[in-house]
Assembly symmetry: C2
DNA sequence: AATGCATTTTTGTGATCACAAATCCCGTTT
DNA sequence: AAACGGGATTTGTGATCACAAAAATGCATT
């Protein structure tokens, strides 16, 4: 007896949302060069849609800080600086620490199992030297924790912050990863969730973020600028010289 | 010799921005009834513009959580619940606490003077029983502190949170205000800024937010819903019975 | 009077058009 | 060779139109 179509959580199929998702994905994967100018018509052409949904998607991304708008109404990919990254680090420590503390108080047994599984998969990918899967599983691990906190507004804010720091997380490989105490920290975090120890959960998450983003901040050049790493599919070579137009977003 | 028009800080004069500002203002002043459906054409009609800028403004506000979107693509003013308010409380304590700590490390003498002046003006308005000016000056006080922190991303996030809690801050009057240790707390905050005591600054700000929002959360009914207070110009009477359409946004 | 169903109206979405501001281009001047 | 200037092009903005999904309405049936 099919009475309603939408399976409670109706998905947004609008073009606007698809464009938004595409741009978000391209940003996260580092397919945009910092400072690159992004024109509405170009995006519309590449994705095969009209200006209308592109405008709405880009406007939203500007509001979220994922793109920035010149005074003269043109949209660019923001450059990352050490100062900005340190600001994001401190904000993320607060919010993701808070989310972890809440998760410690609210996580169900099955949610904790999912978090533990993600932690295992990180180790597997890392042992294989598969940094792409590694990154994806790290994201899964973090957001599994935040989902367990059941704080929708908090989760939305954290997603916005990941959108801004995402393109630079490649820089953690391979230098930071090998020297990192990541697995042990995640283990302690999971234990904190199990024992409902909110303070410890917050501390482990905040420390993890501090170490990772401080490492990236130290990669800034003498002007304080930070260049993103090229997207690293397994064994892929760097594509172009730095600063060149690296945008090759393609329609699905 | 007029060589450039824009005085470094070019202002956005687009209709989209004006619509955004109007809606934001109307929300903050409590001119929307929670749960009220908001149609694009209605806003466009009231403001005398076409659908295009209205769509972009509303989309942005939805992304910021100031409006919410039904699965069936209609936009509503979100209802406030105790749970949501407590979530916002905890987030605000973290972020505004962080901003206060940063302000303690970075505030200049003249910035502190401005903060102190806002604190004085709060007391003046409060002694006159002028709750409208009171609220405005409280906002000025807070954002003067956050501006001193010089953390643009953090400030943007905080503004988004105020947009969501704003309509309910009227509920602090007059009950909470009279019983509050607000002035003393603000005084201690200013002292912390002067002595560069980041920890104390964070504590004072977080405590202030906790007390205020906990008070409002306790006003929830048995279902956890919180109704906003009517906008209170000096001595203005409550306008309509709760739940009625309270939207009388007018074009400038 | 309440319910089910077809029709009408409302409403958000996406494409297209017109326009002005910003940018680019290229020839000229100093 | 660098700086200037004016016209051509590009680009974001806002209005309008067509359309489909959703909501509201009216009517017949139980």
């Amino acid at each position: 007896m099919p009475h309603t179509e939408t399976p409670p959580d109706a998905i947004d199929t609008s073009l606007r949302q698809q464009v938004y998702d595409s741009l978000r994905e391209a940003l996260t994967m580092g397919r945009f060069a910092p400072g690159q100018k992004v024109t509405f018509r170009y995006i519309a052409g590449v994705l095969g849609v009209s200006l209308t949904p592109v405008r709405e998607a880009l406007r939203r991304l500007v509001a979220e800080g994922a793109f920035e708008m010149n005074p003269n109404r043109s949209v660019r990919v923001p450059r990352m600086t050490r100062d900005k990254l340190l600001e994001l680090r401190d904000i993320r420590m607060e919010l993701e620490g808070l989310a972890s503390a809440k998760a410690a108080m609210a996580a169900t047994r099955s949610q904790i199992a999912g978090i533990r599984r993600a932690a295992r998969e990180i180790i597997v990918a890392r042992n294989r030297g598969d940094s792409a899967t590694d990154r994806q599983k790290v994201r899964e691990f973090h957001f599994s924790v935040y989902a367990a906190a059941r704080q929708p507004t908090l989760q939305r804010l954290i997603e916005g912050l990941w959108l801004q720091t995402g393109p630079y997380m490649n820089l953690l490989y391979p230098g930071f990863i090998s020297s990192s105490r990541g697995p042990a920290g995640r283990q302690r975090l999971i234990e904190a969730l199990q024992t409902r120890n909110a303070t410890a959960a917050r501390r482990e998450m905040a420390d993890d973020i501090r170490r990772a983003l401080s490492y990236v901040a130290d990669l800034a050049d003498e002007n304080g600028n930070i260049a993103p790493a090229a997207p690293t599919a397994a064994g892929e070579r760097r594509r172009r010289s730095a600063g060149a137009a690296a945008f090759d977003l393609h329609a699905n």
